[in-house]
Symmetry: C2
Subunit: 353 residues, 2 copies
Amino acid sequence: MSDQQPERVARESKRSRGGSAPTIYDIAKLAGVNPSTVSRALSQPGRINVKTEERIQAAAKELNYRVNPIARALPTGRTNTLGLFVADITNPVIFGIVRGAERAAADAGYTLVVAESQESGEREATAIERVMPSVDGLVLATSRLADTQIKQIAARKPVVVINRELEGVTGILPDVERGVDQLVAHLAELGHRSIAYVSGPETSWVSRRRWEALLAAAPKRGMTIVEIGPGVPTLDGGTAAISRVIASGVTAVVAFNDLMAIGLLRVALERGIAVPSQLSIAGFDDIFGSDFTAPALTTVRAPLIEAGERAVRHLLSRVSPQSDDRRVDVEALLPTELVVRGSTGHPLPGAGD
Amino acid sequence: MSDQQPERVARESKRSRGGSAPTIYDIAKLAGVNPSTVSRALSQPGRINVKTEERIQAAAKELNYRVNPIARALPTGRTNTLGLFVADITNPVIFGIVRGAERAAADAGYTLVVAESQESGEREATAIERVMPSVDGLVLATSRLADTQIKQIAARKPVVVINRELEGVTGILPDVERGVDQLVAHLAELGHRSIAYVSGPETSWVSRRRWEALLAAAPKRGMTIVEIGPGVPTLDGGTAAISRVIASGVTAVVAFNDLMAIGLLRVALERGIAVPSQLSIAGFDDIFGSDFTAPALTTVRAPLIEAGERAVRHLLSRVSPQSDDRRVDVEALLPTELVVRGSTGHPLPGAGD
DNA sequence: GCGAGTTTGTCAACCGGTTGCCAAATGATG
DNA sequence: CATCATTTGGCAACCGGTTGACAAACTCGC
């Protein structure tokens, strides 16, 4: 029976009436070879006779062929896509991470899916669940998930977390001590003897780390330090803390992040507190806009773009080991550094008393 | 011949040794039905006997089944993914758009792919080409592509452009006149008689529109207006324009966007020019941080989150018509409004002469 | 000129769903 | 109880690539 390839014929005829994108079958027909040969020619250069390969390439160009990533992903399981999950995409701390990640992914020919959990662990879990099957790996930048949840996810797909330490999961971490030491030294040099730390969310690993680093550094310089918080990591979280800061009698306050620091700065100025002479203020991250304030904000800069880049590059090295010769150094902590601007200065004699 | 289902058997046995995610075949086996029945039960509730459907649901739950979006996308062509393309993800104007788009997409169960062209039309074209087959539609937020290129893309997939007017392509546009009228009226009221507009990139549709609106509004209030530019839409672009602004002798300057306005503000203060008494400065967009400056920036706010939301919602209505009853009103322009802060004020007598 | 070793390209299964078609089962009706 | 209409669910093709196995064609040495 001439059961040749009825369905194939049907397909060709359907295809020939244009419309949808060209497939390797179209190329195969045009070049007079088998579809699998086309597939090899396109994805494994050298596997095929040069002459044939050229013919196929020509046909592909003529049809303006683009490989269909979805069709390719199905049998291979490789989607050439990475997922980036952030808690709040409008938080300027995120921008740098997103940019670095996007750039590193695009450079490697990968697509980046960005999802925002809007500070909700539940939303985050849902989004991850949905995206999981169609990505090769995930970057969790400011996860609101519990450690165990993250570990479960990491057991299914390669995961990199940023600013979080988790056993068995690669973390991109800042060298908190470095910047904090610089900051504390800077404040000590200016003549401050007492600091307050306005902390961020209770669950924030970063906030704890910053506090611990301050707690270790301050006594070494003969300074006292108190913690005020926890608070929400926003402008409002900063403004809300001002009373307690003032009540504490310190001459310098370090906020969990720049947003809170700016909130503090604003409300301090509103209340007629001179910055920095009556109260020095410093933040963390050096976000966009932190030099817009008057006085501009002293802050401990974190290399956010590099964090995003490194996270993605590490993920790529795990996803496609051959891709990059130079392995990403995940172990090394990201260097943080103090950026001195106008919001810190010598305390007035008697300030803070 | 008992050619029963040799391959299926092989598959099952492979699958049974765990590892990969459960499939509808696993569910089918567990529930004792055909895979196609499982597919129907899961994607067309009601098509199947209630009793059977329940059994399948139970099996799915037991196996913790998640539909594989890639496998689903292949035969249907629907990926449940949208693409968002921006020129510069660190530009604060973008943040709102991204957030609005992400939220609207997530709410509809869609995944958002974000790609950054880094101001390069070529990169943008490449990224679009790569992502195109795996998205159901695209939002171009700050495209650097030529009109004809965009039209070609729009012919292949649903496209929505933001802040750009293009025949045959849906555009989400701001009501520029509204905010500009308010701004010009505000300046006139303060006593200004001459304005300069520091324009953005030559190719920017928005910059042209803003200039046209100013050009129309200023004379109505008996004010003169000059254009200075084009310039790059960044802080540096603003600072670079200061000499020409001063030379023009105006008492008020309106910058293409907030970044340029802040650049102008900074360099003006550095040069000892009092703001606003010697020079009033205003911007556009009301980006994050535009109220951090001293004085805070007067600006024409654009509802960016809504722009992103509306873009995606419109796209969704085209992609899955049944999804939403209420159609998105794309025609309506997004209302812009003046936000008065400290950077505009009465000109000093003799200022600008 | 012939057998061994390589290269090249074809066959067909497969990834995990979706869906048109149809037969069996069920239910309604006379 | 027979007949016809309606559900219900199975079969198999299909989406567009990838890839292991293998046969045909080609190369080479003796």
